[in-house]
């Protein structure tokens, strides 16, 4: 029983450490590109928001 729990924990930790390490490695190597992507995304977001503010639905009229 204890052995199986131990082996499960070992597998669990190995998988998770590996996953977190690869994420951190990716972020470390591409941090500049990620910053630029965030900047572009923010600009798209703001543009769509401004567009939404200015948008008026002509079908919705008050009689």
């Amino acid at each position: 029983m204890l052995e199986s729990i131990k082996s499960f924990l070992h597998t669990f930790s190995v998988y998770h450490i590996n996953a977190f390490y690869s994420i951190a490695y990716f972020l470390k190597n591409n941090y500049f590109f990620i910053i630029v992507l965030i900047a572009i995304g923010y600009m798209v977001f703001e543009e769509l928001r401004v567009d939404n503010y200015n948008y008026t639905n002509d079908e919705r009229r008050i009689i």
Binding site: F32, I35, A39, M43, E46, V50, N52, Y55, N57, R60
Partner: protein, 186 residues
């Protein structure tokens, strides 16, 4: 509370219903806007790959600086965000389109020798001027590719100066109040 019902006024005054759904026009315009940015990103990658080491060392950092400066200016100066966004995306697209097309132009024009040009114009052109012409084309490329991002960054910087650099109304009132509330003690 009394509610007054008018007869047969349903067709005259229909109930207002506000919906969260998007119209087709909105969906299409949103998709167009997102596609524009995706296209620009792809063009940036293509152009920086075409220019090899120059692309890696100059085009990627300069266009990144333009994007980041545009986004930061949009964030900090909300009053002018529409203009800032428009200017950022079009100036980057123009810059990348210039780099993409000018490469083709140089490839077409540079091989023309001064003898060929002299024959076309029916004059004698010295061989050195042919080299000078191709050198000038390279210099134009260098100047434009260096000065466009710098010009854009200066354009963004002057926005900060105009927006934050002036004496605001709140500051003026604060100063007047301060003078009034803290009179000189004798």
């Amino acid at each position: 509370m009394n509610r007054y019902h008018y007869r047969n006024d349903d067709s005259l005054r229909p109930d207002l219903i506000y919906t969260q759904t998007m119209t087709t026009h909105q969906i299409v315009s949103t998709a167009k806007k997102i596609f524009f940015y995706v296209f620009e990103l792809v063009l940036w990658m293509v152009v920086s790959k075409l220019y090899l080491n120059f692309g890696k060392k100059w085009i990627i950092p300069s266009v990144s600086a333009m994007w980041i400066m545009g986004a930061v200016t949009t964030f900090l100066i909300k009053d002018e965000r529409e203009g800032t966004i428009r200017e950022t995306k079009w100036s980057i697209l123009g810059y990348l389109a210039f780099l993409f097309l000018y490469r083709i132009v140089i490839q077409l024009v540079a091989p023309i020798s001064s003898e060929q040009m002299g024959a076309a114009l029916n004059i004698t052109i010295p061989a050195v001027s042919g080299m000078a012409a191709s050198g000038m084309l390279q210099n134009i490329l260098l100047i434009v590719s260096v000065m466009t991002p710098i010009g854009f960054l200066i354009w963004c910087a002057q926005k900060y100066k105009n927006y934050y650099g002036k004496y605001t109304k709140q500051e003026a009132f604060k100063r007047i109040k301060g003078t009034r509330e803290n009179p000189r003690r004798f």
